[in-house]
Every structure is written in C-alpha cells, then in structure tokens.
C-alpha cells in the first residue's frame, strides 16, 4: 500500500499554485491540502494523480473570517480550527458540535474543511452543513473567481461542480442570527466513522412559531440535500412533538437511498426527527 509515483510541487504563492493547476490539470494534476482522504486513496492506488500541488505552505489560506453576515472558511482551515469561540453566535455552536463528529483528533488537526467539500463524500458532515445552510463555494482559477451555490456544487457521489483547474478557495456560510435554533444528529457504527445517516435542522423562531426551517439529510442519497417538503410543513407552525414527527415522516417518504438496506429510510427518519427535536428543544426519542 505504497502510493504510486507523482511529481511534487510546492508553490510559494496562490497565483503560482493556480498557474500550476491550470497547466497540470489536464495531466491529472491535483491540489494536496490536508490529504486525509486523498493520501489513503493513493495508498490503495485508487487515486493516481501524476502531479500534486501542495498548498500547505501558502500563507493566508488558513483564515477564518467573519464579515458582511458571512463566515468565510479558507482552504487551509483544518477541522480542528473550527471552534465555538472562533465563530460568533449559533453558527459557532453548531459548527463546534459538527466538528466533534468528524473522524478523529489527528485527522482533525490535518484535514481541511474545503478538502472535505471538494471530496464530496455523501456522508461528509461539512457537505451537509454547506447544503443545509445554503453555503456557497468560492472556486478560483487562472480564469477568475466564481461562487457556486451548494445545491449546484454537489453533483453526485464524490462529484462536484469544480473544474479540474479550479481551487476550492473558500466556503462561505451565512452567520445565523441570535436566537436561531439548531439540532444535529448522526448515526455511525463506531465513534468517528462516516455516518450512515446525518441530519442538520435549523429553525428561525418568531413568537413561538417557526418562521423559517432548513432541514438537511446526508449519508443517505448520493449527495447531501435539503428536505423542502418537511421544511414547508413546519413553516409558520408552532413546533410540537407531533408536528416534528410528521415532518420527519414526510421527509422520509421523499428519500431515494443509494444502498439496498431497506431500513435506511427509517434510520434517516430517526436522525431527522432528533435533529428537529434538538432544534425545537422538545424531548423526542
């Protein structure tokens, strides 16, 4: 399980990295960021990039910035850098909780948020967060920058809208207003394993009713996505145990799981129900 040979490049500037990527992408050149998914794939020889462009030495790419109502996560922000104190308000608490579900300590210290997004594993927690919150990806190349909305970015099993010459230069997430309620729940076989189902629910409350709902499901279909039917059911209603149960059941009916486990929809319903219950502050098994 030794990786196949490749040419190694350690550019000194982002511009140099983009130039290399533009040049080498047609020859299977790839960006190396945290490497926590790419390197195992190379060890198994299922990924065989001919060139790796290592961006770890580039200055300024590990910024986590808040401004204009947005959190901007740079391409070298490691999972472990996402902490409650580094992001204000409910979004910080939400991301802190999600981080705790990502793999294990040594993976979190090295792997990057943008790397997870670019890898687009359907069970990735960050992909679920981006899809549910309506995040946007900043794709950068010699040709310029473009923003890609999450619903356009995730295109299928480990497939994204990124062009081969594009660097995923950032994740932009809307900062959640104070008072926003959220819940996250996932089920995995062991601690730190990829989830078999994961759900994130975000509720904006106004005078005891749900003014807006965002509910996402991951690890069930070929990509994470929102659940519009369930969201619609909740909107402008007061959250009750029955309503949340109904919304989860509604969501389940719309799922198209990628595997043949007949109990996967039931599992999905459970994590959705629990994410909603946590968000609404209602006890629900």
């Amino acid at each position: 399980m030794k990786p196949p040979p490749f040419h190694y490049h350690a550019p000194r500037t982002e511009a140099e990295a983009l130039a290399l990527l533009a040049e080498l992408a047609p020859e299977e050149g790839r960006i190396l960021a945290g490497g926590q998914s790419l390197v195992p794939a190379m060890a198994l020889r299922v990924a065989r990039p001919s060139h790796l462009i290592d961006i770890n030495g580039l200055p300024g790419l590990d910024r986590l910035e808040v401004g204009d109502g947005q959190l901007r996560v740079g391409p070298l922000v490691r999972h472990a850098m996402i902490r409650r104190e580094s992001v204000p308000g409910p979004l910080g608490a939400l991301l802190d909780k999600v981080r705790g579900h990502i793999a294990h300590l040594p993976i979190r210290t090295r792997g990057t948020v943008c790397g997870s997004l670019a890898n687009a594993d359907p069970a990735s927690e960050w992909c679920l967060v981006a899809a549910t919150l309506g995040g946007a990806m900043l794709a950068r190349s010699m040709r310029g920058d473009r923003m890609i909305a999450a619903e356009d970015f995730f295109q299928g099993f480990m497939t994204t809208a990124l062009e081969p010459d594009e660097l995923l230069a950032g994740l932009h997430l809307p900062v959640l207003p104070e008072g926003t309620r959220w819940g996250f729940h996932e089920f995995s076989r062991r601690a730190g394993d990829y989830a078999q189902a994961a759900s994130l629910a975000v509720l904006e409350m106004r005078a005891g009713t749900i003014a807006a709902a965002r509910i996402g499901i991951g690890a069930v279909e070929d990509r994470p996505r929102r659940l519009p039917e369930a969201e619609a059911l909740l909107t402008n209603r007061a959250p009750t145990a029955d309503l949340l149960r109904q919304a989860a059941a509604e969501a389940r009916a719309t799922l198209l799981p990628t595997d043949d486990d007949p109990t996967r929809p039931a599992l999905a319903e459970t994590v959705i129900r629990r994410a909603l219950a946590d968000a609404a502050g209602i006890e629900l098994p």
């Binding site: 030794k2 040979p5 350690a10 390197v39 290592d54 040594p106 993976i107 090295r110 062991r190 601690a191």
Partner: protein, 166 residues
Amino acid sequence: MTEAPDATLAVILTVNGERHAIRVEARRTLADALRDNCGLTGTHLGCEHGVCGACTVLMDGEPVRACLLFAVQAQGRAIRTVEGLAEGGELSPLQRAFIDNHALQCGYCTPGFLMLGTAILDRDPDISDEALVDALSSNICRCTGYANIVKAVRAAAAEMREKVPA
C-alpha cells in the same frame, strides 16, 4: 517538470531535535522515511490508510498520522516520535504509567498511543472523561481492551499535575 516522478528529492527532517538529511521520492510517506531513512523504527505502520493510528507522531506539537503525510511535507517542521519521549534516559510520566498500569500487551500500538496521549496531556491535563475517550478513540489497540490505556493516561496526568502545581 522534466524530472521523472521517481526522482529523489533532498529533504531535511528534524526529528526529536535532530536533523536528518535524506533523499526520498516525493511519494515516500513520512512514516516510511522515519523508519527506513532515519532508522527510527519506533513509529509503526498498522494500516497505511489512516485508520489505526499506530503511526501517530507529533508535528509542531500536533498529533498527525505519519502514513498520511509525505516526508517532503514535513520539511521545516518539528517532528516528535516515541524515541524522543524519554529525556536523558528517563522515561516520560506517560511511558512509566503505561508500564505501571499494564497498558500494553504486544506493544505494537503503544508508540502511537504514547504520542496521542502526550499530545492530549500537553493540551489539557484536566481533560474530561468524555473528551479523553473521544480523543483516544483515534487509535486502535487489539490487545488490551483499552481500559488500562485510559488508566495510564489518567495516572500520568495526575503525576504531571503534582509536579507542576497550578
């Protein structure tokens, strides 16, 4: 771009404070470079795909999987391995605690757990039980059933607290 991909690169690794000038292919993992090029075989390989944690080392104080880094990426960083834990022949409190608490049987996972445990205690010797279990769940031990590994980390934490009163 003209060099063959299997051409070797000159890399200087700083391991346990000592400089190792080596020549490796870009694809050589840090774990293999430590073992084969630096002769530091205390870092073990259990899976080579980032799951088992046997190859855990510290890079600038952070625990990382040495099988998921290329040696060339560790240039300029401070690497610490199990060989660097004992100072002046004196075992570290965690090494001592592993012996006293029977936290190892075959010893293959031990270097990885020692490095992980060292990183955990360096960050937060008062770590909660829940957080400790979460952190230690990074690595696999096939012999002990883990109970004594937790005991050892706790014992070392207690000893370190005694030595450095808050």
